[in-house]
Point group: C2
Chain length 466, copies 2
Amino acid sequence: MSEEDAADEGPDPASGDPTVESVTADVHDQIDPDADERARLREIADRLVERAETAATDCCEGVDVLQVGSTARNTWVSGDRDIDIFVRFPPDLERETLERYGLKVGHETLPDGHEEYAEHPYVKGTVEGFDVDVVPCFRLESATEIRSAVDRTPFHTTYLQARLDDELADDVRLTKQFLKGIGAYGSDLRTRGFSGYLTELLVLEYGGFRPLLEAAAAWHPQVELDPEGHGRTTFTDPLVVIDPTDPERNVAAVCSPTNVARFQHYARSFLDAPRTDVFEPDEPAPLTESDLQTHLERRGTTPVAIQTDAPDLVDDQLYPQLQKSLDGVTTGLDDRGFDVFRATAIADETAVILVELAVSERPAIERHDGPPVHVRSHADGFYEAYVDAPDTYGPYIDGDRYVTERPREFTTARDFLESDRLFDVGLGAHVQTALEDEYTVLAGEELTRLCEEFGRELSAYFDPSP
Amino acid sequence: MSEEDAADEGPDPASGDPTVESVTADVHDQIDPDADERARLREIADRLVERAETAATDCCEGVDVLQVGSTARNTWVSGDRDIDIFVRFPPDLERETLERYGLKVGHETLPDGHEEYAEHPYVKGTVEGFDVDVVPCFRLESATEIRSAVDRTPFHTTYLQARLDDELADDVRLTKQFLKGIGAYGSDLRTRGFSGYLTELLVLEYGGFRPLLEAAAAWHPQVELDPEGHGRTTFTDPLVVIDPTDPERNVAAVCSPTNVARFQHYARSFLDAPRTDVFEPDEPAPLTESDLQTHLERRGTTPVAIQTDAPDLVDDQLYPQLQKSLDGVTTGLDDRGFDVFRATAIADETAVILVELAVSERPAIERHDGPPVHVRSHADGFYEAYVDAPDTYGPYIDGDRYVTERPREFTTARDFLESDRLFDVGLGAHVQTALEDEYTVLAGEELTRLCEEFGRELSAYFDPSP
């Protein structure tokens, strides 16, 4: 997204420049579901809840059915088409039985649905263009008794339904769109941003979109919010929002420090110069091969990459594994003197760990410090091992130690990445399996081969914005 | 010097291999002054002392004259031709008067002598092939009252003359020659090795050459010797020998950790395999240009050097300045990402700082971490400064901070060394003046230009031994 001068004096309503009010009114027009959309959603959701209730009552006593999520709370952004239906079973049910009943209810509610697996198995399907999940959980007295994360969801819905009036719900929608625009919306492990529930709590806590932005502009992490004043655990995250339904949980735990700072940056920038484009996710043009070559020349770094088939995993499993592999590979390179300048991991059909190095080559030899001369048991062994080694300089003495200069194992990053030593670094399990099967090392201009599959990702990498 | 297997079981006298006894007997034949040399030295020294006494008594009451140093103590190595004559004036003399009297006595003793300046001015001359110094000092009751280092010398001579019998004096000579052979003899600031006085104290303390070597082979620094048991200060040096004439002085203070370890190494190696070549200073053949090229190719390092006219200073002033300049230049290179592999400073007609780098080139850009986004006063300024900078990537956010990637000042070591920024590093004062006047940067194969002047130094650098 393009960026105005963040230090401007702020908008001047008399000038005809956009104001927070004028911009948010425009955005509301775009994102608020209209009466038709609401009615249609209401009608379909009611029908599905009823169907699920009938099926549930058939298999078990003491069951109830609840619509949850943003479409239940009037906080969905127009065009979002998720209907979440939770079937709550009595807590004394065996977990196995709950799963069996849950799938039965799911299939009866969504005859064309299929099974998926999160914390429990559940049924997912499409009804008149809406994505519907039918999820079983336990009906508990309090969120602190939960046995899995899904059990918590109904408590969130109950808490928010009681507190979000229409005006706040409007502001939740606005805030969600703002976070989508700046790329910080979503608690999936690829984005590590603000979840819908976190967004709702923040709007509720600060009393609206604008007060939230004004507060965020002045945040001094650690920022801790505790709407119910019942927190009793210490967290190290920059943003801490104690779950009103669970005093031991930080709702913002998954939100990365970068996304907290990003939200702060855009909050300031938007209040200084209100504009609609902040609400529009950035869609960079894919980087062309010649753009890439221009960047490489201008930067003078040494790019290397390893490319392999992407492991067949959902994003929430894939991205932590990619991150772990990225950390491992960059540590392996740094440890061997190939200073890492910047790096990223990206995936689509293939998975790529891309590393820009600040050092292209190391000498043929490396310094190898031996023991102090006075530690005779070690010193004699070291001296003996190297005194006649044909490719080694020394041993000589530096300070109190023997030192030799011996041949280095790897003089280029490619040598290392193509060697078995790559598998000594920490890698995500499925990434490791994929690499063991086959991988390619790309260096220098060979990186242009990535442009077709990863043009947008490379564009974002080489033109980084806040 | 060539090196035998240090882990051998030790010499076997029955085998006909050299033993410590047979080797030291051979060395004694080489280094002990014969009766003629002793007699000639005695005769000349006595004549000069007498001449100095006559001259001294003429200008001042209460003066005495003392021969000091190794030729006074029977510990000189055959061929050393230094006669040191100290003229001791009463302590109530003004320093200026002492200096005037001292020069007068010096010139009358050495009519062809010339003045030099150490702590006081003194007169130096040549008499029948001997180098003679006539040095004025104060005659004090105790070495703790000294006003300058020269006042201490007579106390050392008195102390040692009373304790070194002929046998110990023989062993002092042997030890001096051993230290010369391994390059660790001399307390000048180029060598930073063992002084004559330190050598004498060590032989005295351990009771001879062989017991000293056996002790040194097992040293665990910090090694502290205090012959008079009067030390009262704590030192951090690896070897501490409290001066018997001054409880607050470590006689081994100037001896570098490397030379202490070197002595230990050769003590072990000699006891394991006694041989005469340890007593012969290494005279490596000068490195040829083609040898140098072979080394550079084999090492794969990036050599750079700065060469300038050597400042006109005595070694004890020059070498500390060279060392300071070397530290400054290597720090300057390291700080800019040109990792220093090994380096040395050498001087003859010209002074050279030679640095081998492990990194030949850096990228065109460098990462520049800005302030945390939440520190708004700094963050806004940083963001503004870079958001429109044409050659800069970012600002983007990493963790809680703004980061940019901006052009680097220097992408090669030569660029840095040829720039004015060279003068931002710590340089020895006279070295700095010489560089300000003119200097040349050499890189890669241009280093061969140093072979003619510094062939031996380069040979020692590229073929380092303990």
